[in-house]
Symmetry: C2
Subunit: 434 residues, 2 copies
């Protein structure tokens, strides 16, 4: 017997339009191979008259998206507008309370309201699909929920934000400044006009909190993630990293430690030849370090019409064929609160700052380091005649031997307040086995 | 309501024992998170008294594995004995005919009897799970059947055999001969005592034919795949490939051409820095070149107790939660026959042979090449004093400009029969964008 889904779609941008075109194009394919039919019974977006890549007049238009939920015939709502609160939140909550299936690409919403959504989904036995919310076309949610189920995952490393990866990989490859790389990303459609959340690490953190909920059975918690963005990375950092054999990438990582699950989004130095170091353009990658299945790596496009709408369609198929899993693998009652953990792991760090070009600076610096118990593996202070010398400060680049996070944080505080160093030093951990 | 599966397991080697231990260990996890219970109601293997990593006496033993099918209480049979015919085949056919679910890791069986299995599965509406048959712990079957459903895949490249990859990567890395690398693989448990199918490419071809059936809706056909193994690769081939910037890998590839789907398993030269070139040890990788989702890459361990038994367990969960998909995504009636296609694509080739060390040899060779319309990009003929010089023949290594497969095949024939060349030249295509 053919299973029919009667769908309302809110948000008709690139992804929303892509989903509609995909449904139009693949009707007989869905019928023949999955025995399902998708009927679009309502659409809604900000503006009805905007030019779109499908024929809007083929579908019933709702000026108020929330009216879609009141439409009794509609059993499945697809939300593609974004935003952690406001309309997206109202749509989600009301869809679930009205026993409708809900499919979304909205990582901010799930990251902030994951617990409430999980409780409602269980109570009302809805299907809640969010494959498109993390890593675009890479089927990471389904893989974690349905395939690597015994994996007893200890650790994940990932590149989850295409915009920042596009900027970082192009700065290094094309020898261009952050601003030029960002402008290029915006011209090519990889970055929004306001790229704040991509660049400051928050978008990656939203996605990481969703993965953590599935892997480590935590209530999604953005606040328990240590977040740093890529705003302060300079072209010289790419030069020196490269000289040491590394690329700079914005890494989202979680790992089980003695104190719980440590979570971090931060730019890191990653071996050029490693899985993560090689990822360029707007691609995403997730490396899962498991006990049973060993390491599993998934790589692909993290955004765009094709990848993201494919993920929405795969949720639709799961919804129609009756997938009955908990939102985050486990029942909401088994999810635990995640708290802010300090990593006890020792890591090597890259440090870059500008040191006052005067007699005694270097010996002062050496004393500060030795007082802080930081040993150096490598140090570069080139007397270059270039515009990296700010007034009478010259760049110093150091790689430390492995130290704890609080030790490096405390060194940064000391250096920042010292008058031999201009501004706040940049520091990035070095990823081992990326 | 809790869904129970009553299971019979045939084959109690590494994987079979792993599955049993996993079921024993995760009872409450399966119950809480998936609302399923797995009851093992029968086990069978060659020898009852062999030492095993679980307590055999906890389960009902069947001397004749086929008796498990007659046990009315058992609804799900897991076959982990292998072999394309014989007992494995009898178990599969009889399980399906008796309306039992069937889960297997047996690529040879599916590759040879895929059409019949697909027909029976549809007729009897059984669940047929085979995630463990391709690429161990990498969830490639589920990803293809359920996630990348709109992907309109044009091409896949893959490393599907861990044994041969272990041998090839270690020959290059450790500078050891084929025989030493094979012996090491056997000592470490990566290769069977009879490694023929791993080394001659047939195991990869079995797996490729299964992937092709899902991706390109073909009746699995081993015979339509051009297969060459790694037996003739010498240490000097690794040296010279490396000098040109390549690693040698056994690549399984399928791609849509103007004439249909071209399929091949062959050792190839792959960029050292590319996704496939970097894969070492017994790892597997699958690179999917799609239209919608873009490229998606999955990498992980291709064999072993943990990875393979994890895949069997994920099939069990799917079976219990009621997955109702066709064996190969499409109904058997929509599968087409795959026929032997010649690639029309032009590729650069690596050629290595031993040329008679006498006046005129090189000009004879040049004439043969020019008669065959083969142009050379690079040629190396080092006058080395080493044991690669066979009698008075010296190694010559060439990289051609792109040529068609039939052109290179015809050149190989000509060189093989020429008396200026000793034995059959080795030729390997060069993979672009690996």
């Amino acid at each position: 017997m053919t299973k029919e889904l009667n769908i309302g779609i809110v948000g008709l941008g690139t992804v929303g339009s892509g989903v509609i075109k995909s449904i139009e194009k693949n009707r007989s394919y869905f019928k023949n191979n999955y025995n399902v039919e998708f009927n679009i019974l309502g659409i809604s977006a900000n503006s009805k008259n905007k030019e779109r890549s499908f024929n809007v007049s083929n579908y019933k238009w709702f000026d108020n998206p929330l009216d879609i939920i009141s439409e009794n015939n509609i059993d499945t709502v697809i939300e593609l507008i974004g935003g952690e609160d406001g309309l997206a939140y109202d749509l989600a909550i009301n869809s679930l309370k009205n026993d409708k299936n809900f499919i979304t690409a909205n990582k901010a919403l799930i990251s902030k309201h994951g617990e409430e959504l999980s409780i409602l989904t269980e109570k009302h036995k809805n299907f809640f699909g969010f494959e498109a919310s993390v890593a675009g076309g890479i089927p990471i949610i389904k893989t974690l929920k349905e395939s690597l189920i015994l994996n007893e995952i200890r650790k994940i490393y990932a590149i989850l934000n295409g915009t920042s990866n596009y900027i970082l990989s192009n700065m290094g490859k094309l020898n261009i400044s952050f601003d030029v790389a960002l402008k290029d990303a915006q011209d090519k459609g990889y970055a929004e006009s306001d790229p704040t959340l991509d660049i400051n690490g928050e978008d990656s953190a939203h996605k990481l909190s969703i993965l953590n909920s599935i892997i480590f059975s935590e209530i999604p918690s953005f606040k328990s993630i240590h977040i740093r963005g890529i705003e302060n990375i300079d072209l010289i950092d790419h030069h020196y990293s490269s000289e040491f054999g590394y690329n700079i990438r914005l890494i989202a990582l979680s790992q089980i430690t003695d104190n719980g699950v440590y979570k971090e989004v931060t730019p890191m130095l990653v071996d050029k030849d490693s899985s993560l170091g090689r990822v360029d353009e707007a691609n995403n990658i997730i490396k899962i370090i498991g006990q049973e299945s060993g390491d599993v790596v998934l790589e692909g496009q993290g955004a765009g019409e094709g990848p993201t709408s494919s993920s929405v369609i795969s949720d639709l198929i799961d919804c129609a064929t009756g997938s009955k899993l908990y939102l985050f693998s486990k029942s909401h009652s088994e999810l635990s609160n995640s708290t802010d953990k300090i990593s006890s792991e020792e890591r090597a760090y890259y440090l870059r700052f500008f040191l006052k070009d005067q007699k005694g600076s270097m010996s002062n610096l050496t004393k500060l380091l030795s007082d802080s118990n930081i040993s150096l593996d490598k140090i570069i202070q080139k007397d270059e005649n270039n515009n990296n010398n700010k007034d009478n400060f010259k760049p110093v680049i150091m790689i430390t031997y492995p130290v704890k996070k609080d030790e490096i944080d405390s060194l940064i505080d000391i250096l920042s307040s010292s008058d031999i160093v201009s501004s706040v030093p940049l520091h990035m951990p070095i990823l081992v086995k990326g």
